[in-house]
């Protein structure tokens, strides 16, 4: 379902008009420090991000590989929680009204805050989409209703093992865009088979009439370029976190900007 008037829809419409594909970087809020997140978000936009995915730290990130786990652990050491994530978005919106922001995380921090409390706070902060990794459509009717009634997109995952039946099921619930997990495994694992991705995306596109993004395992510009030929959006997560890990507080913003810029030029070339 496409939602008219949303930032996510506007972003994809603009990209279609420009014959470009969306670049969606992922960072975890509070990694390496809470104060770094806001300048990092602005830098991501400057470097060519079309949508920003913000990771909500969780103590038990079951679907994530070691790189994103470490990002979560660093953020948790500073006590960063869902409230801080929402505060970051609020601050970001004081100067940026255009770039969509999607929160990505696990169900428990949201349930702890309370679905409606969270949904109200998210809409006030200026959140555009929510991707709850461990909320498949079967378990998230309440979230979907809460988000729908407030105009926030609920984003769902599909994977190489999703059956035709599940693709249909997700197609019914999905808002904003669908996130295709290009690997069997956790975030950051191995490298992806772009031909295989192309075949599955075609199958998904037959059922889903909103944009389809691809993430997990895209580590270099060449792969991003290949993926952008078959998908509407490319999500880069672990590779950016690794850049954060190998940077100092002084050069982290510039390094991440440079990296994201390199993905942008590869995709637009």
């Amino acid at each position: 379902m496409a939602r008219t008037g949303s930032r996510i829809e506007a972003a994809f419409a603009r990209l279609v008009a420009e014959h470009r594909k969306a670049l969606i970087p992922f960072i975890t809020v509070g990694d390496p420090a809470l104060a770094t997140t806001l300048p990092l978000m602005h830098e991501l936009v400057k470097a060519g991000a079309d949508v920003i995915e913000l990771g909500v730290p969780f103590s038990d990130p079951m679907a994530d590989g070691p790189v994103i786990q470490r990002a979560s652990e660093r953020a948790l050491k500073h006590g960063v929680g869902l409230n801080d994530v929402l505060a970051c978005v609020t601050q970001f919106r004081t100067t940026n009204q255009i770039t969509p922001v999607v929160l990505m995380g696990y169900a428990n921090p949201i349930e702890r805050m309370g679905l409606d409390v969270f949904a109200d706070a998210a809409v006030v902060a200026g959140v555009d989409g929510v991707l709850v990794v461990d909320y498949p459509p079967e378990e998230s009717a309440a979230l979907l209703a809460a988000m729908d009634s407030r105009g926030i997109d609920t984003i769902y995952l599909l994977s190489p093992t999703s059956s035709a039946e599940r693709i249909k099921r997700v197609a019914m619930a999905a808002r904003g865009y669908v996130y295709y997990v290009s690997l069997k495994g956790v975030t950051g694992a191995g490298n992806i088979d772009t031909q295989e991705v192309g075949r599955k995306i075609a199958e998904i596109k037959a059922e889903v009439n909103i944009p389809v993004g691809v993430g997990f395992g895209i580590r270099d510009g060449a792969t991003a370029r290949l993926v952008s030929e078959v998908a509407d959006a490319v999500v880069i997560g672990s590779r950016i976190i690794q850049e954060i890990e190998s940077s100092t507080p002084e050069n982290v913003i510039a390094n991440v900007g440079k990296l994201v810029g390199s993905f942008r030029s590869a995709m637009d070339a």
Binding site: S59, M62, G65, Q69, G81, L82, A107, E139, Y156, L157
Partner: protein, 416 residues
């Protein structure tokens, strides 16, 4: 009074126990769980599968396990009569083997050559390594690095049985993190691998499946108690970590409305100190490890560190069926502190010549607390879920002794 439990039939078709349970996992695991669900249903309907499971329980595990009348202990306490269901006499020394045999048979049936498991105390890891050896499967066990140190002897046992033990260094480095890591392995190697979860937690169908395989414990009791005393007990007690031995003995008693069901959680240094693992007593509902249940969590919804003298109870969640049994009022849950469990451990050693697992000692302690307040004609049935051999080093250290095997076992455990 408990009429509404006579036709108890949880979980429902989608794996829910009232508001609890369910399948809270990423899309990447949905297909695997669906396959498992279908295969488990087929196996349960296949008389040959059931017959083989029962044969294994009889000839390999040594079932049925006896119920033992702890007369000296009961007389000393001067109240209710205490009976012990002797799961400690099973092969590998705990109830865990009932479940690992069931799941390993299912793995073999599904053509998966590799099994993985998470473990805290190491009992489930040992039970998994054992059945993997028995059925010729490759076995990888994930174990928090802190537990690898605490339970060096069990690490060595797993290695002797041919398993690979992978120390987990993420998160709080204990059981919950081992479970996360095993899930990550499963999602990556789903075609070749069967994940043997060790307790009644995880996404559906695990809570149901693990309960079913362990329910042999309660099934035997329902027959044995009338043979011994002419009736069912007044209460059934079991320790609760994830809750598999408790579900195992509770399940067939659920329709017996006059039998109280009492789950004993780890109170650690005292629930009021915050250093405990009593999720049902002191936790709040949330989502972890694929299901909704009671959790120990902070104000941000982060899972907190737990504490217990017994590694097997050191888990911040609990099986979703226990959450439902608590809310519905069918079962009661209490917290038993480290000191009380240790006292019960020593007392059972001295009065009955039985060395219980520290986990099981929590249930024994609760029985010791209750018995003196009851009449001599009342009966408490305690699930003695395991034996205490694995706990020698912990108990010795608590008593101010350095147990001789600690260093050598640790060295053996750490060398690959």
């Amino acid at each position: 009074m408990n009429k509404r439990f006579e036709a108890y039939s949880f979980p429902d078709a989608t794996g829910h126990f009232g508001p609890y349970g369910g399948i809270f996992v990423a899309e990447t695991l949905q297909a695997a769980l669906l396959e498992l669900n279908l295969e488990y249903a087929k196996a349960q309907a296949d008389p040959a599968f059931i017959a083989e499971f029962q044969r294994e329980l009889k000839y390999y595990v040594g079932r049925p396990s006896p119920i033992y009348y702890a007369k000296r202990l009961s007389d000393e306490l001067g109240g209710a009569q205490i009976y012990l269901k002797r799961e400690d006499l099973n092969h590998t020394g705990a109830h865990k083997i009932n479940n690992t045999i069931g799941q390993a048979l299912l793995a073999r049936r599904m053509g998966k050559p590799r099994v993985i498991a998470e473990t805290g105390a190491g009992q489930h890891g040992v039970a998994s390594a054992t059945v993997a050896a028995r059925y010729g499967l490759e076995c990888v066990v994930y174990m928090g690095i802190d537990d690898v140190r605490r339970q060096a002897q069990n690490v060595y046992r797993m290695k002797l049985l041919g398993a690979t033990v992978v120390p987990v260094e993420s998160g709080s480095r204990t059981l919950k993190d081992a479970l996360n890591e095993a899930m990550r392995d499963w999602v990556t190697n789903v075609e070749s691998t069967f994940y043997i979860i060790g307790t009644v937690a995880g996404p559906h169908p695990y809570p149901m499946m693990v309960r079913d395989f362990n329910s042999v414990v309660g099934k035997e009791c329902v027959v044995q108690m009338p043979e011994m005393i002419g009736r069912q007990p007044d209460a059934v007690l079991a320790c609760v970590g994830g809750g598999s031995n408790a579900m195992g003995i509770f399940f067939d008693y659920i329709p017996h409305g006059n039998v109280r069901l009492i789950g004993c959680e780890a109170g650690g240094e005292g629930v009021e100190t915050g250093k405990h693992s009593a999720s049902l007593t002191a936790g709040t509902p949330g989502v972890l490890h694929g299901n909704r249940t009671y959790l120990l969590q902070d104000a941000n919804g982060q899972i907190v560190d737990t504490h217990s003298v017994s590694a097997g109870l050191d888990y911040p969640g609990v099986g979703p069926e226990h959450a439902w049994l608590k809310d519905s009022g069918r079962a009661e849950y209490v917290a038993v502190n480290d000191d009380e469990a240790l006292a019960a451990f020593h007392r059972l050693c001295r009065t009955e010549g039985i060395i219980p697992a520290l986990e099981s000692s929590h249930a024994v302690a609760q029985a010791m607390k209750m018995a003196p307040t009851m009449s001599k004609h009342q009966v408490l049935l305690v699930n003695l879920s395991g034996r205490g051999d694995k706990d020698m080093a912990t108990v010795a250290e608590r008593s101010g002794l350095q147990f001789f095997c600690r260093a050598s076992c640790q060295a053996a455990a750490e060398s690959r």
